[in-house]
Symmetry: C2
Subunit: 345 residues, 2 copies
DNA sequence: GTGCCGAAAGAAAACCTATTCCGAATGTTC
DNA sequence: GAACATTCGGAATAGGTTTTCTTTCGGCAC
């Protein structure tokens, strides 16, 4: 038995035809007698022939590969994103290289070089924070789509989440639930994401003629502990608070814990809304957490779809495409729905 | 300006040499004058030449690509694993294809076919549970390493976590902390992982002549809610329990919540040990959770290293390689260490 | 100075695998 | 028997690497 992988030549020999004919037979091209075609197909099957994609790519100039470069250390935010990317790419039999830069520009550069040499059809660059970054150092002509972190080159295309809209959703939902004294606890002020979420909430409050409970946004770290401490601070500053919008589900967990320690009922006394819809965190909370889902899977799907467009030659103009968030309703805001709600924007 | 990617031919023309000479110059092979070599290198740089990996692979038979097939829907367990895989692969400039089967055998089969055609050098198949699965349907000759879920073919190689050892670590640690009435709350009995963890604990108890608090292992779902309910049950059955070993950090979170509701101090009254060392869960807990780290990153590293061995032609005999777990000490067991401890087995 | 040997340098060609284009051989039709 | 269609072989091609072969030159003996 031969350990060598069979090639068209082997198939040709077995079927008693030339290599060109094998190719035509297997790809349904050219003019061939049915009998010949069948003989070739049979020979290929018998040998277990699988065409070498490398050779095909060399010929066609397309590799049917796409790379996802992430700075996220394979963090949790990348998971739903990848799911969306595969949703869009899977249908096209496009394989995906996953590269993690670990936030190191050198590693990113090397990955970019390697991908260049591999002649990937396109690249998705995913940052985990909304910021502006330098364009990827890759050969001109290779389509690149940026996700969440946008490129400093305005002609590049970027897909991102709608954090302002997420804040709006949370705010509107709390107003609709009859809350009027709404506080906000969130992550570091130096990041754009928490600032935007806060802006969304503020916008809703302004429209309703309300002001923020506690008189300020409680910016801090992305930790449960800050959630616990900030909740104490908020309740000290504004004991009559009846709702808290949290910039992440982790923060919300901490907030809920403080509320329970203080014998405050959720949502009875205070309604809580999280952000991320990070399933194990949000669903495991007691009570389960109503939370803004930034729709990362859809972000990934859109990014991959646009990338495929660009690869196909469709011109995609630069700029930012924002994917609407939606609200996952659970018990922490006291509203129960049976329909899975899709947020409008 | 030419949009076409430069080839060796372009470089050769610019340097005034033949294509063969270009190859030799850029790869430091053959006999060339220093002056010639320098001229070629300069020409390549000026043109921004990047060798086409596809052509190189076609020639050499090696693609320097490896695939990771996961059934995990890009779940959290895959993240540390991927990190370990990249640790080992990155040094070799090996790129990794990430394929998610979403637990669908058809998708797995298609991925396997595609990878075959792409002539990947090797494949890592990662399941998320300890079970036996059918070998991957891939061309013979392609090295495959199984992770956690092992292949039914005993000649295949598998790397997995040490769940029994993890249970032993947790048990010994609790004994060392002076606890003697230790309960165990964990996931579904039908899975091997929780059974093994329980067996590890039982082994330690047997050695010490102790028995399980509550008289049984509390098997249930992998949810915080089960942790809360099971803790109630355990405390009802054995009110003098002074330690609880949990089969996951999520369960531990639920357990700790119940304990706090009952005004029991952790670790004062009851020490708690988790499993997974899932950072956001374990560190966010109040108090932070001592937990068994199954060392998934190391599992990934070992799997990739062995795969590279197999690719290099080193014979790797079939069987299971078990990676020791270690204990992450935090406050929920009352012991504080400054050194990051590595678990021995 | 001439002739010979061998080493050095680089050109030329073969090769890796599959696709595609061109043309040759065969068969069909009027 | 000429025009045309059908069927398939052969060669060129993609972009590199590697092997083979040729040219050139230095060194040395006579």
């Amino acid at each position: 038995m031969s350990q060598r992988v069979p090639t068209v030549r082997d198939v040709a020999a077995r079927a008693g035809v030339s290599v060109g004919t094998v190719s035509k037979a297997l790809n349904n091209r050219g003019q061939l007698r049915d009998e010949t075609r069948a003989r070739v197909v049979a020979a290929a099957r018998e040998l277990g022939f699988r065409p070498n994609t490398l050779a095909q790519s060399l010929q066609s100039g397309r590799t049917y590969t796409v790379a996802v470069i992430t700075t996220d250390r394979f963090g949790r935010f990348g998971n739903p994103l990848m799911l969306g990317v595969e949703d869009a790419l899977g249908a096209d039999r496009v394989s995906v290289f996953l590269c993690d830069t670990r936030d190191d520009p050198i590693r990113e550069y090397h990955h970019a070089q390697t991908l260049d040499e591999r002649r990937v059809d396109g690249i998705i660059v995913a940052g985990r924070r909304k910021q502006t970054r330098a364009p990827l150092a890759v050969a001109s002509g290779v389509p690149v789509v940026y996700v969440i972190a946008r490129s400093s080159d305005p002609s590049d295309f970027c897909v991102t989440t709608d954090d302002v809209g997420g804040g709006v959703l949370a705010g509107r939902h709390l107003l609709a639930a009859g809350r009027t004294r709404i506080g906000h606890i969130t992550g570091p002020e130096r990041f754009a994401d928490p600032r935007e979420r806060a802006a969304g909430l503020q916008q809703v409050l302004d429209e309703a003629g309300l002001s923020l409970a506690g008189g300020q946004v409680f910016y801090g770290e992305w930790s449960e502990d800050w959630g616990r401490r900030a909740a104490e601070m908020l309740l000290h500053a504004a004991p009559d608070t009846d709702a808290i919008f949290c910039g992440s589900d982790q923060l919300a967990r901490g907030v809920v814990e403080t509320l329970r320690d203080r014998r405050l009922r959720v949502p009875g006394d205070i309604a809580v809304v999280g952000f991320d819809n990070w399933e194990p965190m949000a669903a495991g909370c007691r009570p389960p957490l109503t939370t803004v889902d930034p729709n990362l899977r859809e972000v990934g799907r859109v990014a991959a779809t646009r990338l495929l467009d660009m690869i196909a030659g469709t011109p995609v103009e630069g700029g930012v495409e924002t994917v609407p968030a939606w609200l996952m309703l659970r018990e922490s805001t006291g509203v129960r729905l049976t329909e899975p709600p899709l947020g409008s924007n």
